[in-house]
Point group: C2
Chain length 460, copies 2
């Protein structure tokens, strides 16, 4: 019999091939055109758990289906819940992809495809590690539960009702999520903080039809003018958000965190080169890492109005719209922020304009205690496989479910991303390093061993 | 032999049929996709002048061709230059048209098609009136020259070089243009003032590719945020334009003009209903007519950035763009305005953003003296045919060539629009009243007679 690690090393090609299979399914959750692909992807995932001897099912929801799976019960052993998502981001603009987004392509040691890093390639490491334990040892050292959803990129609307209705079933000692990045190539990280989000769509209507800007201009409020004015009023000239009370509940960065961040080997010049800007910008008084990880933001995500074609058209548009979002930091309440945004925009909306504000999704930020035994177990597993102790970082993105797990299951979440910052997770040419994929599988297998040694909660 | 008026009355159906022929040619000047249609339309126009015995030619330009035609020379008679344009506005959004824009359709006494009122239906009245004179009297009572261009909706780039190179050929006592609206149905107008325009496109680039707004947000200047801030900084909260020096050269409304405007039978409630807004808005201290006719404006004509599809996408966009324009009033210099806009935007452009400003087109506003014999002749012709004296109005739109005619040819322009304000000239469902079309032909025929009695300039 091979060891767990030997089995994993022998299966490298097989694991890659299975990942490619899943990547070929275009499971874009936000676009109704791909609705039929979602059950296909969910079925693929469930079937792979069933083949391990797990109890797995595809659970229908009003949105896209969830996959839930459980390993055969070992009494007295700790229980870990793995969370991931099989849905992916849209792929526009398609012309900027060097290879088609749903035809996985190997280049320079990476696999290029939409979802390679976010999150298909990452959550599968925890499935393949379980397979390795069963193949090498005949059994897992602990209880594993898997919750793989299909609406993470679309606001996870069906997840909360499922969690609320299945608290007993989902009970666990801790949650494991790999849906983010290492600190740098070769420098793994445990992420102990996440930003939240509050995402909106603002639609303004002025005249009932597009008008000639010469004949009518000056006598009608232009919704595109109003949109620019309303959006710009949400921030001041230093980028500080002007929504009343916005900063009231922000947990400030601790001096210890700032020292720790400052010690990280962060190459600002390389970072700026990577994103193609000539100089650093952002909120005054904070470093680049602090701005990305621990300070709230306001970003316009989309804009549209009037004539977008070639040349000039002298139109006074009937409508204008924007998508925009705030990244939130721990202790900011998305509902309170949404109420503040709504009230402020209503006050800013000029005469002659009808405003509609859609709240797309909101989730709070998260901080995980660094001194928990689960975090320390993850650190040991990662150091063993990567040959280097993880650094403790925060992350600018949002994984809404982490706060929910804390609130509903009382469980800490281990955020151990195997990706890299330049994986282009929401851009053209998404990729995942194959070396990271295989290290992730080995670290996951080691994590099951480390966690199996911890006491389990009396609750289970 | 019939009289001129009898001939016109007998040809109503024929004139409508010929107008429909020209309307079926989709001569959209701003869209390169329709480039091949422009020579077709120009050829149609030239051929209709040739068939009257005029010397007519299609003149190639670096853009779209011009049509120039002259009636057989009558020594000692006054000379009138008719200006019009055969190009039309784009038709988007296509789904809002009740009948296809290039299939002319009669409904409720109107002809619906792109270009029906702006300007094919209007300039053809002056061709058909000449045909009536020749058919009824065997000759025209004066010299007519016609200049029909194909780039009016695209900035008239080829017109100025042609005018400058043909000053002798184009010499005239006055210019006649029908490319606007009457004051109201049944209330014709002579327009003695036009607004100018300065039209821009602003393109902002931030990071070299779209980024994940969670991972990167806060550390990168967002070009869509910057666009909103820069555009909104161009106006204050009262809609007053903040470009330095913008109002320096504005000719204020004369007390006599304000009194005259106030006496016009303008129904504000009906106007607001027509454009579908609940209340009047605009610059403080001015009436709706004053704001539309005699005050400068700032209107955003188009906006685009990031994700415009369904649902939410957490993108920090690489680029953002806007089309916007200022309507100018007499004495404001478009070049001076453009320089001010460029300097102001350059000062507003935040770190991390690269700005490109495209100047699409600019033209000054115009005021025509009300007491000229040509204006009085036009008033008599109109009153004869419409049974009602024209009112003297200004117009919010721009006909850039009017200022050019004044500067280069030293000629007054008679602006006698046969259209209506609700003709949807730059919107879906453009239309032209058939009654106005036929009255326009009769009034034009009468105008040739009135103008033929005036002395001609020694210059000719």
């Amino acid at each position: 019999m091979p060891t767990v690690e030997e089995f994993i090393n022998s299966q490298a090609e097989q694991f890659e091939e299975e990942l490619c299979e899943l990547l070929r399914i275009p499971s874009i959750s936000t676009d109704p055109a791909y609705r039929g692909e979602m059950p296909r992807a969910a079925g693929w995932v469930a079937q792979h758990f069933t083949s391990l001897g797990f109890a797995a099912e595809v659970i229908d929801t009003p949105g896209h289906p969830l996959v839930y799976a459980e390993s055969p019960r070992i009494e007295g052993a700790p229980t870990v819940l793995v969370y991931g998502h099989y849905d992916v981001q849209p792929v526009e603009p398609l012309n900027l992809w060097d290879s088609p987004p749903f035809e996985p392509t190997r280049r320079d040691g990476c696999l290029y495809a939409r979802g390679a890093s976010d999150d298909k390639g990452q959550f599968l490491t925890h499935l393949f590690s379980a397979r390795a334990w069963i193949a090498a040892e005949g059994r897992l050292p602990l209880n594993l539960k898997y919750l793989i959803e299909g609406e993470e990129e679309a606001g996870s609307a069906s997840l909360l009702p499922f969690l609320s209705a299945n608290l007993q079933r989902l009970a666990c000692d801790c949650v494991v999520i790999s849906d983010g990045a290492q600190f740098a190539p070769g420098q793994p990280a445990i992420t102990y903080g996440l930003r939240g989000i509050a995402y909106f769509e603002l639609l303004l209507t002025g005249p009932s039809r597009d008008l000639h800007s010469g004949t009518f201009g000056g006598s009608v409020t232009n919704p595109a003018n109003a949109l620019a004015t309303m959006l710009s009023a949400l921030v001041d000239e230093k980028g500080r958000i002007r929504v009343p009370g916005f900063y009231d509940d922000v947990v400030p960065l601790a001096p210890r965190e700032r020292r720790q961040f400052a010690q990280l080997p962060f190459d600002e010049k390389q970072y700026l080169r990577q994103i193609g800007v000539s100089g650093a910008t952002g909120e005054e008084g904070y470093t680049v890492l602090e701005r990305r990880w621990a300070r709230p933001t306001f970003d316009v995500n989309g804009l549209w109005s009037g004539y977008q074609g070639q040349g000039a058209k002298t139109v006074l548009p009937s409508r204008a719209g924007a998508k925009f979002s705030f990244r939130l930091v721990p202790n900011q309440d998305p509902a309170k922020i949404a109420a503040g945004v709504r009230a402020m925009l209503a006050g800013l909306c000029p005469p002659g304009i009808t405003m509609e504000l859609v709240e797309h999704h909101g989730s709070p930020g998260v901080l995980v205690p660094l001194d928990s035994p689960h975090v320390q177990a993850a650190a040991r597993a990662i150091e063993h496989v990567f040959g280097r102790a993880p650094v403790y970082t925060r992350e600018g993105g949002s994984i809404p479910v982490v706060a929910t797990f804390h609130d509903l299951l009382g469980a800490d979440t281990l955020l151990i991303g195997w990706g890299q910052d330049d994986d282009n997770t929401h851009s053209p040419n998404e990729k995942f390093s194959l070396a990271d994929f295989h290290r992730g599988i080995r670290a996951s297998a080691r994590l099951w061993e480390e966690l199996s040694r911890l006491p389990t909660s009396a609750r289970l």
